[in-house]
Structures are given as structure tokens and as C-alpha cells.
């Protein structure tokens, strides 16, 4: 009896320590990013940093630190990925939870979740050797290493999150809602569109935001499949260099303590704040959706 009590206390504190250290680590990372990142602005003006599209810290002539191209690339690839993944993901979720017979649901759901387990470097390689040439062929381009390629790959990577979270949301819509609709003679399609999906909407929005978070932070795939050119992209057929890819490319060789070094931390800080905003939004919607269920 006494031993059991001891074990309980031990594990309580163990998990408490784990929880507290997660928060501690997050804060330390944020503080480290901020301390290093903000030092950029002793050499670079804030206006130049955010408004210039010229990022070239190890230039032949004059180094420049403008992140507009990087931010535009990240936003573009993420939006592109969502345009593809959101309808596909919600459609799959609706099918799995509302329409599919049990045996299809039991096979389809795990398969979609396995998608999440494919290493990003494999997805990126697929982008280079298969999707790139395919895109070039279809759109008659010379090179398929562009924003579209990255968007499609990121869509594939965000799909599992979107599908499984929105499937949960759709499934937890109370049966009474649907039954009421059927009782009024409304068919299944209209019930799904007009009743079930709107009732699950906050959960679906949370799913989409989680998908955005997944896409925004992905590094290896976009690094391999988008060409990483530093020009401000104007269409999805242009090569892009995302913030994550840029950090990955340059951090390995940057001289410690240089403006370039701090600049990369500043890029990281901006990226961190972007994904924090996305996560807070998604948390907000998830909470609403929990409240709905009660």
C-alpha cells in the first residue's frame, strides 16, 4: 500500500517536471531567438529588413538583408498548399465519417494517417525526380522546381492532420442535428452541407490552422523541391525560397556572431511569431469547438 502511494507521488512529480520543462524549453527558445535576432537591427534598419526583397548576406559586392522574398515565398507556398489540401481534406473527412461503410472507413483512416509518417526528405526527393518533371511537362515549363511543386508536396504532408482533426469534429456533431434534418425530408447531401459541416465548422477551422502550422514550418521538402531562387516570386511557376529553407541553407556556414548570423535568428523569430499566431488561432477555435460539444 505504502509503496503504491510512493509510486504515485513519484510519477506525479515526474510528469509535473516533464510538463514544466516543456514550457521552460519553449520560453528559453523564444528568449534565445529574441536576444540573437534583435541584434540584427544594430546593423540593419527595421524598414530594410521587412520591406526589402533583396536577401544576400554573403554577397560578392554589398550584403543586403531584406526578408520580403522569404516571407512571400513562405506565405505563397502555404496558401497554395491549403488551396489544395483544405477541400481535399474536408471532403475526405466528410466521406470517412458520414458516407463510407465501416470497412472502408477502417482501411482509409489508417492509410491517411500513415501519410504523416513519410519522412519529409523522401517527399522532397519525390518532388525532384517525379513531380518536378511532371509539372514541367503539363504546364510546358522548362523546370518544375517551383512554388507549385512545393505547394502540392506540402498539401500531401498537411492532409493527414486536416483529415483526422476534421473527421473528429464532424463525427462529434450530435446525431439529433442530422436526424432533425432527415425528419424534415432533407436528403443526405444537403444535410451534410447545411447541417453537419456548419455544426463542425469550428473544429474544421482548427484542423485547417493545424495544417497551416504543419506547412509553414516544413523545411526539407521545400528546400529540395522549390529551387530556392532569391527572386521575388510573382507566380506559382516561379522558384521560391522559404524562410525555413533559407535558414537551413545558410546556418551551417555562417560566421558566429556576424550580422548574417543574427539575421538568420531574426528570420527564425519572425517565423516563430507567424506559427505562434497560427497556433493561437487554432487553439481559439478548438476551444470553441469543445464548448460546442457540451
Amino acid at each position: 500500500m505504502k509503496l503504491r502511494h510512493l509510486t504515485d507521488t513519484f510519477f506525479r512529480y515526474l510528469f509535473l517536471t516533464a510538463g514544466v520543462s516543456a514550457i521552460g524549453i519553449l520560453f528559453s527558445i523564444f528568449i534565445m531567438l529574441a536576444i540573437n535576432g534583435l541584434q540584427t537591427f544594430t546593423d540593419v534598419s527595421i524598414a530594410q529588413f521587412f520591406l526589402s526583397a533583396r536577401w544576400n548576406p554573403s554577397a560578392f559586392a554589398e550584403p543586403s538583408y531584406g526578408i520580403l522574398t522569404l516571407v512571400t515565398s513562405t506565405v505563397m507556398v502555404t496558401i497554395g498548399a491549403m488551396i489544395i489540401a483544405v477541400p481535399l481534406g474536408i471532403g475526405t473527412a466528410a466521406y470517412i465519417s458520414e458516407i463510407a461503410p465501416a470497412y472502408i472507413r477502417e482501411t482509409l483512416k489508417p492509410i491517411v494517417e500513415i501519410l504523416a509518417g513519410i519522412p519529409s526528405v523522401v517527399v522532397g526527393f519525390f518532388g525532384i525526380v517525379f513531380l518536378g518533371p511532371l509539372i514541367a511537362d503539363i504546364f510546358n515549363l522548362t523546370s518544375g522546381l517551383n512554388a507549385l511543386n512545393g505547394s502540392i508536396l506540402l498539401a500531401v504532408m498537411a492532409l493527414p492532420t486536416i483529415v483526422s482533426v476534421s473527421e473528429d469534429a464532424i463525427r462529434s456533431v450530435p446525431r439529433e442535428f442530422k436526424e432533425g434534418s432527415y425528419a424534415l425530408g432533407v436528403n443526405r447531401w444537403l444535410t451534410l452541407i447545411k447541417i453537419t459541416l456548419p455544426a463542425a465548422s469550428s473544429g474544421i477551422v482548427a484542423a485547417v490552422m493545424l495544417g497551416v502550422g504543419r506547412a509553414i514550418g516544413e523545411t526539407m521538402t521545400v528546400l529540395m523541391a522549390t529551387g530556392n531562387a532569391l527572386q521575388l516570386p510573382v507566380s506559382f511557376f516561379d522558384s521560391v525560397r522559404t524562410m525555413t529553407a533559407n535558414i537551413a541553407i545558410e546556418l551551417g556556414e555562417v560566421p558566429f556572431g556576424s550580422t548574417h548570423y543574427y539575421g538568420l535568428f531574426a528570420v527564425g523569430l519572425v517565423l516563430f511569431l507567424m506559427s505562434l499566431a497560427v497556433n493561437i488561432t487554432s487553439e481559439h477555435f478548438t476551444k470553441k469547438y469543445r464548448w460546442h460539444r457540451k
Binding site: T7, N56, F60, A61, G132, S143, G144, L145, A229, E253
Partner: protein
């Protein structure tokens, strides 16, 4: 009961895992020579190391890539024994190394020709240095302007942590690269991209795309290069052209050590510079060290 046993078991497991990793690494670190850096050199140094290890079974050499910048950063931070670099260290890098008590010693152990490659369907077979430079600056953007078809040029290059990127910029482009250039993550990716892009142009170490007989991997064109309008264009696939300097884009390949190496490391480097080592260099698709750099190695006291 079950909880207790499983708890005990996992604690034991964690202990064993941690204990295992400490002692193993310590045991190996003493004998293993770590070589890290240039992607251009990684395959070459790997073959050199393998041949050397066959002859000296008690020496262990581990070779990894990552780019010249990565290797140089590693030698400055004391994380590697030898840094492979396809460019010389910059003044600021040497200062940084000295601040950390590292004395970089530059040894030239092979010569590389940079090949300019295009898609196999591209009819352009020769370019001048000036044309290549303008293409990479973004001043020439259509193949039409270099007697090719009317087609926009797609530029492929390495990323800024690459010695090849820096070398090519400093010696050939002599300005910033066009911002439209796609920055590829390694030589293999440039080759892969150009194989499927009929408008592409790229630069890669010759050893990566050709063997010692001059056989090039499929679906790639190697462009002949002329020093200027008056000179004839030479192919890098003929080793004579590179060694005699007729082919204009060739460069020394470096290995950096921290101060004068000793023991197995010195033996390995001496062997690389021996006739036998230089034969492996040639078999790997690169070129032996020229007399000027060999003399430099002698003055360092690496060889007699």
C-alpha cells in the same frame, strides 16, 4: 506488480543505453580520423581513404560531406581533423580560426576542373568565359544570344555554403549571381535537375559526372569552354586540357589541418600526395596536383 517490473525494466534500459553510448564513442574517437567538408571532394576522399585503409587496416578514416563552408566551420570549432575545401579559406575565416587557437594549414592534394553542363538536347557546344559570366549575372537570359535556340535560360547553381559556389562566383562570374538562379542542395541535385530541363545550365566538379576515360553520365552535355573570343574552346573531359591549364575553369582542391599533422594523419596525407595516391585521384575523375602546388606542399614540410 506489473507497473513495478516495467518501471524497473525501463529504468534499467535507459541506464544501459546511456552507459553504452559514452564508452563506445570514446574508444573510437582516438583512432578514427574525421574528415568533413566539400561535396565536390567527398567521393574522391572516400576512395582515397578506402584504398589507404586497405593498406593500413588499423587506421580508421570517416569522410563526410556538407560543403566546404561546413568543413571550414568544423575545423575552426575543432570538430574535425581534416576539412575538405574546394576554395581557400577567407581572411576572416583564418582570423577566426586563430582567435580560437586553430592554425589552419592548407594542403593541395588534387586539381579539379569545373564542368559547365547543359541538357543533352541543347545544341550549344561551346561558350566563352565572358558568356558564362554574363549568363550567371543574368545579363544574357536567352540561349538565342549564344547561338542557341530561342529559349529562356534556367540557371542552376549551388548554395552559399558550397566552395564551388564561392569559387565560381569569385573567378568566373565576378559579380553577384542572378537572383533567378536556383540554389540546389548539392551537386547531385544540379545534375538531376539538368537531366530533365532542356533550358538548364549548371556547374559541377568534373569527377562527379565523368570517369577517368571521359565517359559522361547520360542525358548531359559537357560544354567546351574558351578563355576568350580569340582562344579555341577546350573540353574538360580530356585530362591534358585541364592539367596544362588550356581548359580555363580549373582549381586546386584543399585539405585543411590544424597545424602540422602527425601520426596516421600525416601518413595519410603523404600517401595522398604520393604517386599511388595521385593515381587514385586520376582514377576518380580528377587531376593530379600541379608542380606549383606540389612545391607549396614541400615548403610546408608535408612532403620531402
Amino acid at each position: 506488480m506489473y507497473l513495478k517490473i516495467s518501471g524497473l525494466f525501463s529504468a534499467l534500459l535507459i541506464f544501459v543505453l546511456f552507459a553504452g553510448c559514452g564508452s563506445g564513442e570514446e574508444r573510437d574517437a582516438r583512432k578514427r580520423i574525421q574528415i568533413n567538408g566539400s561535396d565536390t571532394e567527398v567521393n574522391l576522399v572516400q576512395s582515397l581513404a578506402e584504398t589507404f585503409m586497405e593498406k593500413n587496416p588499423n587506421v580508421r578514416i570517416a569522410v563526410t560531406g556538407g560543403g566546404s563552408g561546413t568543413g571550414i566551420a568544423a575545423i575552426i570549432n575543432g570538430q574535425t581533423d581534416i576539412a575538405n575545401s574546394s576554395r581557400p579559406m577567407s581572411v576572416s575565416e583564418i582570423e577566426q580560426a586563430e582567435r580560437r587557437g586553430v592554425e589552419p594549414l592548407a594542403i593541395v592534394f588534387a586539381t579539379d576542373g569545373l564542368a559547365i553542363i547543359t541538357h543533352e538536347s541543347n545544341p550549344v557546344t561551346s561558350l566563352t568565359i565572358d558568356q558564362i559570366s554574363k549568363i550567371y549575372r543574368g545579363e544574357i537570359t536567352n540561349w538565342r544570344d549564344v547561338d542557341g535556340p530561342d529559349m529562356n535560360i534556367t540557371l542552376y547553381g549551388r548554395q552559399s555554403n558550397s566552395g564551388t559556389y564561392i569559387y565560381f562566383r569569385e573567378h568566373i562570374v565576378q559579380a553577384d549571381y542572378s537572383r533567378a538562379m536556383r540554389n540546389m542542395n548539392g551537386t547531385a541535385q544540379i545534375v538531376e535537375a539538368i537531366r530533365s530541363d532542356r533550358s538548364g545550365i549548371g556547374y559541377v566538379g568534373i569527377g562527379y559526372i565523368a570517369d577517368s576515360e571521359g565517359n559522361v553520365i547520360s542525358r548531359i552535355n559537357v560544354v567546351d569552354v574558351a578563355a576568350d573570343d580569340e582562344s579555341p574552346a577546350y573540353s574538360p573531359l580530356d585530362s591534358e586540357n585541364v592539367m596544362t591549364g588550356k581548359y580555363p575553369i580549373s582549381r586546386p582542391l584543399y585539405q585543411y589541418t590544424n597545424g602540422m599533422p602527425g601520426g596516421d594523419m600525416l601518413a595519410f596525407i603523404r600517401w595522398e600526395l604520393s604517386e599511388e595516391g595521385q593515381r587514385v585521384v586520376a582514377q576518380s575523375g580528377y587531376y593530379p596536383v600541379g608542380e606549383q602546388y606540389m612545391q607549396q606542399n614541400r615548403e610546408l614540410g608535408i612532403i620531402e
